[in-house]
Subunit: 425 residues, 2 copies
């Protein structure tokens, strides 16, 4: 890479992230969830719109290799951060309930997505990508909502988190199955697909249990090395990053999505006493990488295709996406929590799709399984699902007099999402 | 770049930085300056030693494109950070004294380096690279020393900082001249070289004065955009990064070293009220980039070449490097500060060479001007010069009863460098 191109790429990255942040500010003013900011910014600055405007003799934003590399690193960091929110022991505690909610919440959207798209005349392989893309809840969005409402300790929140984690692994094992089908479409059998999902789950469970013991020990060892020096270095966080990308690479090698590995690495660190340190370190780095993943997801959307898009497909998949998670997770949750409203909250919280849905959709487009039309429909549906949980959860909590909410929440003016400025100073 | 290679590259980057930090811990225990850590680690983990050990079917550390890209970004961030320490107004205040010390401190080492290497039988172009590499003080090392001694506000420190900044610009303009000679060796005239240096200085001064007005205004404007949102985003720091890499790219375009641009960008931000915010943001990012620059500088050294190296050359250049800065800066400084010991401290503080010297040396090797033998000699000499100022300054301050030093300093046990753990919590 030429030096001039490198500097241009870094400038482009800064421009894209700033525009994404401004877009999310505007979105928040309109009451939209912040995650839409980078996605919209990606569409806006994508090669089909502003990003493609020729200035001098080059496009305004050049989608160079470096931007792609940064967005891939961003996806890994994002899943690592998600993993940091969940200890293995917590996952075990929420056990059966989480597993049941997750299983229902993956199988029902997957099946409904597959059936609906087959009825609309699509190939079953396209249906699998659609079903897969609709099956994974975005834990990031759910967590941000619950944190904003200060409800992270509530039983419904714990159930949402536990279920969302298992849900991720299930959805990513579906993604692995799709990948294996693409690479060897001849020897396809339903039994081998089931076996593949089961294998993924078993490998995941064994490796997670194993790494949740070994990684904290490794971190302690690194910390002892760090303590040799009176000056604060970043050995433990860097070692965690090493594990994160090492696990991502290993999962890739055994045919899983690298994101599963990154998630496991995060979960293993979550169980160590270095959780806060690593979390902070990752957050600082994430600023330059994570938004690019969402921006790139948006940049792959051609807005003219969206306007002339398949509204029937968007409508059907939208209804499938919402109904399947709302009831697929809500009803089992009502049974476990023995409370109708709290159960529905789990349903609300699980509606949002995000990074994994986008990853599976991009994979589908990259391998030529789904057309641009279907991809755009999926992205639009994912957009829609991310908007609902904040709105639905807010309504449910505000109407519940037993919940202690932050003051501004009841007034309903502050945007959702990260910690506010005053908290940080 | 394949995904697997990308993850491997990130893992390699983490391994290299961790080893660099451990090396600098060991070095600090031995009383060596910390900057030697990443350099030694680079030699150790370079392709000629451990990094080249074949594991499986690939070398232990693969020096991939991503590592090179990260190290280039690191060099830019490093100069940006250096610029953040210096306001344009401060530079103007220290004015004549800084200019005189800087000019003497660049011209004398450059001339002595050129003459000495010509006497040793080298070509005059080689001599220019050697002179250039020996002409720039490393402001980073000087600053770290003075900060550790809590002497940053002293008159000698202000003079060191002012002189080191101008010194950087002078040395970088020498680098630009070398670059232009390499690209067009036929039309070479001494008058055109002088004109080129003068032009560089004038462009630098005008552009710095201009940007020191415009950039703070731009940052204010960005801050107003940021304030539209109650949630803290990173728009101002990201905009600063944009300016940093934009300026780096522009300097590259007009034939200057990109590092001059990065330095100017830092200086322009230093004059705004966002200095602390940008500084903190850059520091967090720097962790993943800056050490790689020093590591890569070390990795280019072949230790077997060092052992069989040209000891005469190292000895001569070492003496030239030390004497030329010590007296070249020390004597003018004695005149301006009207104090013998304080003047010598300026001389001590200016001895250390660092990033710019390494950049010029690498440039010389890359363009085939200097041989590996000369490169190794220069790197060794730069190694040596970084060790002296901490030791000499410490001795001078500890023996001065009028100086208030931190307690542990007089005991002489704590390593030099960054803020200590207790300061950060």
């Amino acid at each position: 890479m030429e030096q001039a191109d490198l500097f241009k790429a870094v400038v482009d990255i800064c421009v894209l992230i700033i525009i994404a942040e401004l877009t999310s500010t505007v979105g928040a003013k309109l009451g939209l969830p912040r995650i839409l900011g980078p996605l919209f910014a990606g569409v806006l600055m994508g090669p089909h719109l502003l990003g493609g405007v020729i200035i001098g003799d080059a496009p305004f934003i050049e989608y160079s290799d470096l931007i792609l590399i940064f967005s891939e690193i961003g996806a890994v960091l994002l899943l690592f951060q998600a993993g940091l929110h969940m200890k293995f022991s917590e996952l075990m505690k929420s056990g059966v309930a989480s597993l049941a909610v997750a299983a229902a919440g993956v199988i029902i959207p997957f099946a409904m997505g597959l059936v609906a798209s087959t009825l609309l005349g699509y190939d079953w392989l396209v249906g699998m990508v659609i079903g897969g893309a609709l099956s994974a809840t975005s834990i990031a969005i759910s967590l941000k909502c619950l944190g904003e409402f200060q409800q992270l300790g509530s039983p419904e929140a714990k159930l949402i988190i536990g279920a969302a984690v298992i849900d991720d692994v299930l959805a990513l094992s579906i993604a692995s199955v799709i990948l294996s089908i693409v690479s060897d479409p001849v020897n396809l059998r339903f039994s081998s697909m089931l076996r593949s999902i089961a294998m993924t789950l078993i490998i995941w469970f064994v490796f997670t249990a194993f790494s949740s013991r070994v990684v904290p020990w490794f971190a302690e060892y690194m910390n002892r090395l760090e303590n040799l020096d009176p000056i604060k270095q970043n050995i433990v966080p860097l070692a965690s990053l090493l594990i994160c990308f090492g696990f991502a690479g290993l999962s890739g090698l055994v045919g899983l999505s690298p994101l599963v590995g990154a998630f496991m690495a995060g979960m293993a660190i979550a169980g160590s006493r270095f959780h806060d340190e690593v979390s902070e370190f990752t957050e600082h780095l994430a600023v330059l990488f994570v938004p690019l993943f969402f921006i790139m997801a948006g940049a792959q959307v051609n807005p003219s295709a969206m306007l002339t898009g398949n509204f029937l497909l968007v409508g059907v998949l939208g209804i499938v996406a919402i109904v399947s998670k709302l009831y697929g997770c809500g009803i089992p949750a009502q049974w476990f929590l023995k409370d109708k409203e709290k159960g529905m909250r789990v349903g609300y919280g699980m509606i949002s799709r995000g990074e994994i849905g986008l990853v599976i959709s991009s994979m589908g487009v990259t391998y030529g399984i789904i057309t641009a039309e279907v991809y755009v429909a999926l992205v639009v549906v994912i957009f829609i699902t991310t908007m609902l949980p904040p709105l639905l959860l807010k309504k449910s909590y505000v109407n519940d007099p037993t919940c202690v909410l932050p003051d501004y929440m009841r007034k309903g003016t502050t945007p959702l999402g990260e910690t506010s400025k005053t908290d940080q100073h």
